[in-house]
Amino acid sequence: MSVRALLQPRFLWLSLLGVVLIVFPYVHGWPLFDGSIRNLGFFTLEITEFRTFNATMFGVWLLVAMSMNLLTGTSGQISLGHAAVVLVGAYTTGILFDEFGVPLALAVILAGVFTGVVGGLVIGLPAARLSGPYLAIATFSLIITLPQILKLNGINSWTNGALGIGIRPVEPPNLVNDFLGAVTRDAVSLNERQWIYYVTIGTAVLMTVLLWNITRSRIGRAFVALRDSEIGAEQMGVNVPLYKALAFGISSFYAGIGGGLFFVVQTFVAPESLRFNDSILFLVAVVIGGLGTILGSVFGALFLAFQAEVISNLPDWIPGLNNVRDFERLSPVIYGSLLIATILTFPRGLAGIVQSLLSLRRGGGIGAMDLPALSAIRGTLRNLSASLPGNSDADDSGKKE
């Protein structure tokens, strides 16, 4: 890599992001940030130990959002059972560790592989024959039924029935703290939360880079072809059933790793840890974030990590909401409406808006913004101006679209 490449804005931004991610768990340990930065106007930003946990969950959700987005956004396969796949990842990790004594790190990786294979072969291959509505029903029935399956007495000895599986928080290996101590003269040592934060964020970053490469490979292009038109994909020589199964497989691999880390971070999993509502929440996240892009998944993960907190803080910064009874209970109504509103107005989500704004700044002009809401507004304006007398050439202005 040349020095030039290192000075590129994109690289600088990524380095900055890397530094932020690395120092994050220490921010609240510094005098300047002692306690909190209150009321940034949006929601109370308290930089406390809790934020480290928060950020860890962001890493988990990023894996889940990428998994959901690869399947639905990139490949066009709907799944309402994604929470079930994540749950399988979590349980597999738990069972491998608890029953078979597999080291936790290895258990998470094996869970990812196992979930990926199951998702690809058991869900993906049959799903390849089904169209959208049927696939939706099949995956819906999976997530509704999975808790009952997990509670079956026959597999009780593994799953522990309704009680679920728990572990103690993971301690950082002595090697790590010894090393850090030696390097920093005992100034820095990691506690359990900080350690799992680094593990999770590290995994998430690695897997983001991996996904970035996958979507740009032949496989990724085949997925997109599949989404845009199965017949078209077939004509381009894409083996449709194979690639559908592959989309489910890779997506499930991500969900499995995410589920494994979910278990490790939460230190607990039970049959109802993730339910149908979570499946929908994942879908909401990637739709609002932006279907089919990694940036969309990042927004989606932010949504998953912070939506509960933001919604419960809403009454603090929107005055009238204080009077609304049980406001927090309205959160599903809010995200459900947000979901519908996004699909109706900005189907490409936040990432789509950001991309359009960027292309606007690069001189693409309003015409480059491909937002249905905007084109609807433009259409109305055009009709209005066309109906005015002496404006017969009004429709020329819209031709460039």
Binding site: A386, S392, D395, K399, E401
Partner: protein, 235 residues
């Protein structure tokens, strides 16, 4: 009776009509000719309200119908027999015909009109209770025309009634169309790719190319026109 002036229309960003002007005087059979993709079907769709013109005017009996909904247009007296027939295949022949009269409220007259359709197309009467999917191609075309007649139109839009039918059947159907036009004083706008066939029953013809009228004359003149003969009549 019907007049289009400078009509433009588009499917999204695909311009299909770029300034169509044509007239269909009362009681006439007017034929619209042109190659595949010339905009013939789109012209009919614009008239029946399925495709909204972006510019220009469409007048029927002196009233502008540019922005009128398809339902209203049917009520005003225009029936459209679309390309590919578009009958309700899962419903019976009888139900198809009753749907043709959907905008009417005169129950008894509807019954006698159904009988009249059966007199033009006796096969339909024999198969009244059958599912329309079971009809042959020619019978389906008859049903489509019969269904359109049930709305008691004064203007009938026919889109390629000969499509996919055996020549003998086509001649039979065209004969019936001519009879209906004469008996009921019906004005007909007939879209056809088979120009010689269309010009044999039409009074007047328009030739379309890429969304505009390039030639317009009496049927007789068009039959004699050198370029029409070469490109569309094939002799």
């Amino acid at each position: 009776m019907l007049s289009l002036r400078n009509v433009h229309a588009a499917y999204g960003s695909v311009l299909a009509l770029r300034g169509i002007s044509l007239e269909a005087p009362e009681g006439n059979i007017v034929s619209v000719l042109g190659a595949n993709g010339a905009g013939k079907s789109s012209t009919l769709r614009a008239i029946s309200g399925l495709l909204r013109p972006s510019q220009g005017t469409i007048e029927f009996e002196g009233k502008s119908i540019n922005r009128t909904s398809p339902e209203k247009i049917v009520q005003m007296g225009i029936s459209h027999v679309p390309e590919g027939r578009q009958i309700f295949t899962e419903l019976t022949v009888m139900e198809n015909l009753r749907l043709g009269a959907y905008t009417r409220r005169d129950g008894d007259a509807i019954k006698s009109d159904i009988d009249r359709v059966f007199s033009y197309f006796p096969v339909l009467g024999e198969r009244a209770k059958q599912q329309a999917a079971l009809l042959s191609g020619g019978e389906q075309q008859m049903l489509a025309i019969g269904r359109a007649l049930m709305a008691k139109p004064r203007l009938l839009l026919l889109d390629e009634p000969s499509l996919g039918l055996a020549p003998m059947l086509v001649r039979e159907i065209f004969g019936i169309i001519k009879t209906i036009s004469e008996e009921q004083g019906l004005t007909i706008l007939l879209v056809e790719q088979d120009a010689s066939l269309a010009l044999s029953i039409a009074n007047h013809g328009y030739l379309l190319e890429t969304g505009t009228v390039v030639l317009d004359d009496t049927a007789e003149q068009l039959r004699g026109n050198e370029s029409v003969r070469r490109s569309y009549l094939g002799y």
